[in-house]
């Protein structure tokens, strides 16, 4: 198929449709409303269902019900809407149901504004809802990567029977880039023999997250924990740049800010300063071992985010006290500029 020019939001919607995500529930919110708008037009063409429902709370419960019935389901929203879904997401994780949740984050907290932010990192990575659970979290840095991660998100949701979050920000959702849709081949998935598809001729399947017996509840928690450990072994993804040469500074950034860092790295190189970049693609599980290894070759680590410092907590956990870990962030919807990153690197080198 020829390349097309798409907004991140449209591309995510099209890629999900091609990955068989034909059941979408949502409620509009800037800066991701184009996802719903695109699907309202596209779903009837492919026999799918776009349903705008009364609130994000309802969305989460629809995901629970439809996933429980064995459908490939997904939703998208932006920060405040995602917060409303958190109770349901905890139930979905507890009931071990597969679904994909796309968060095109906007600045906050509270109602905030409509401009981009990475302030939802901790919510996405550390739980968000109540109880001991994790979502697999994928963070695209380009429109093409958003396209490529959607089929993976659906596959891993089914494989782990766990919610997968695709965490972008307003810039990823709104910017346009050329994209192509490739075929993705994953190994066959196990049958959904747990789904509530009608129990004629078999024992009823029950989808629930109520455990009044502490022993049973603990069993579930240990089972979930084992699943997250398996993700840590198998699912860590990241991109490295310039790590094959000597460097003074290791930059760690994901999504939009990684793009800013790449431009900053070129400028720094022109000024005779060598930097390397580690860009996590999975935020949970976090590439902690690789961050540690790469940090050892640098004088210091600089994490750049559109927040007051969230992923930097995981970077510091990985690096420990072996190297200084500095942070640079902008908020309020302001994207750090390449020159700000350049200046920050130079300032720390001067110290």
């Amino acid at each position: 198929m020829a390349k097309v020019l798409m907004k991140g939001n449209e591309a995510i919607a099209e890629s999900a449709v091609r990955a068989g995500g034909l059941l979408y529930f949502g409620y509009p919110i800037t800066p991701q409303s184009e996802i719903g708008e695109y699907l309202a037009r596209r779903m009837p063409e492919v026999g799918g269902c776009f349903l705008q429902i009364e609130s994000e709370v309802a969305v989460a419960n629809l995901l629970y019900g439809a996933a429980g019935a064995g459908a490939r389901v997904w939703t998208s929203s932006s920060s405040p809407g995602i917060s409303l879904m958190m109770e349901g997401l905890s139930y979905i994780a507890a009931a071990e149901l597969p679904c994909v949740v796309v968060n095109i984050a906007r600045c906050g907290p509270g109602l905030g504004g409509i401009l981009p932010s990475q302030g939802d990192y901790l919510q996405a990575v550390k739980g968000g809802g109540h109880g001991d659970y994790h979502c697999l979290v994928l963070a695209p840095s380009s429109v093409q990567e958003a396209v490529d991660l959607m089929p993976l998100a659906f596959d891993r949701a089914d494989r782990y029977r766990n919610p997968v979050i695709v965490l972008g920000d307003g810039m990823i959702g709104q910017m346009m880039e050329p994209v192509e849709f490739k075929e993705h081949n994953f190994p066959p998935l196990p049958p959904k023999d747990w789904a509530t598809t009608g129990c004629k001729g078999r024992k009823p399947n029950v989808i629930n997250s109520l455990y009044l017996d502490p022993v049973e509840e603990e069993k579930l928690n240990f089972k979930l924990a084992a699943k997250y450990e398996e993700m840590k072994r198998k699912e860590i993804r990241f991109e490295e740049m310039e790590t094959d040469k000597p460097y003074q500074v290791l930059l760690v950034a994901y999504g939009t800010t990684a793009r800013v860092c790449k431009t900053a790295m070129q400028r720094l190189r022109a000024d005779g300063i060598n930097t390397a970049l580690l860009r996590p693609i999975t935020l949970f599980p976090f590439p902690e071992d690789r961050v540690y290894e790469l940090a050892q070759r640098a004088e210091f680590v600089l994490t750049v985010e559109m927040s007051t410092g969230q992923m930097v907590e995981d970077v510091r956990l990985a690096v420990g006290r072996t190297r200084p870990v500095y942070f640079y962030g902008r908020t309020g919807g302001i994207v750090p500029s390449p020159e700000e990153v350049v200046e920050t690197v130079k300032n720390h080198l001067r110290r």
Binding site: K3, V4, T30, M171, Q174
Partner: protein, 261 residues
């Protein structure tokens, strides 16, 4: 397919914006110039470059950002460059500029009636964005306007005659304004190749044949234009300089800070 060649044609360059073969086009240009089109077709980029080129020709011109559907990459993002180059701005108040409210500035009516200045209207995408025009139709100056449909054949729902016809009908119905010209703006940003532009022109010709709406001009980004060896088109060409950049993109002519959220 027409060979594209700039040789032997009239050329005017200002602010990195260039027009080729445009003298006749400018002679017949209306006072009010409206840019409509599909979502993400490049209306704002074209409208901003168009305004700059009018100002550079010594004309008094204002631009109104009437995008009520798109939250980012609107022409208001280029306000510093526009202002610096003498283009009047009709924009929402600064404190609510970065919102997604459907804001229509009251001074727009006055600007539409003001016969001493040209006006460029940057309208939001799709029929839903074009709705804003319906409230302004009453002030449009008779025949003294052009309504340009910006077309990028590589955008979703814009790749076939049927889809473009549907788009035209939708925009005309919701705005109450007839589209007078097509603007061919087929591109894939930095990945644009000659074939993409040619494909856009072919689609434009087919749409033109079906709808009797002529091709007003072809827009080609400067970096792409410079790579095309020969260019010879029977249409005016606007060689545009991208101004609505992503925060990490470099703009060597204007410096990296020209687009800042």
């Amino acid at each position: 397919m027409s060979r594209i060649s700039a040789t032997g044609s009239s050329e005017v360059t200002v602010n990195g914006v260039r027009w080729i073969n445009a003298e006749e086009f400018f002679a017949g240009l209306g006072r009010v110039n409206i840019f409509v089109g599909g979502y993400g077709s490049g209306k704002s980029e074209v409208a901003v470059n168009f305004s700059l080129s009018l100002a550079a020709r010594g004309q008094k011109v204002s631009i109104a950002d009437l995008d009520i559907v798109n939250p980012y990459f609107r022409s208001r993002a280029a306000r510093a460059v526009l202002e610096k180059n003498g283009v009047g701005l009709i924009l929402p108040p600064v404190e609510i500029m970065e919102s997604d409210l459907p804001l229509i500035q009251p001074e727009i009516a006055g600007a539409l009636k003001n016969a001493t200045s040209r006006l460029v209207l940057d309208i939001g995408g799709d029929p839903v964005g074009a709705k804003v025009l319906a409230s302004l139709v009453q002030w449009l100056p008779g025949d003294d306007y052009n309504c340009f449909l910006v077309l990028n054949s590589r955008r979703p729902f814009s790749g076939s005659v049927l889809e473009v016809e549907k788009l035209i009908a939708g925009i005309e119905q919701s705005s109450g304004v007839g589209i007078t010209h097509l603007v061919i703006n087929s591109h894939l940003i930095e990945e644009t190749e000659r074939a993409v532009i040619e494909e856009g022109i072919e689609l434009g010709k087919a749409v033109s044949k079906k709808t009797a709406k002529p091709i007003g001009f072809v827009a080609i980004e400067d970096r792409i234009f410079e790579k095309l060896a020969t260019v010879d088109l029977p249409y005016p060409v606007l060689v545009l300089h991208r101004l609505l950049l992503k925060p990490w993109e470099e703009n060597e002519k204007l410096g990296p800070r020209c687009f800042k959220l």
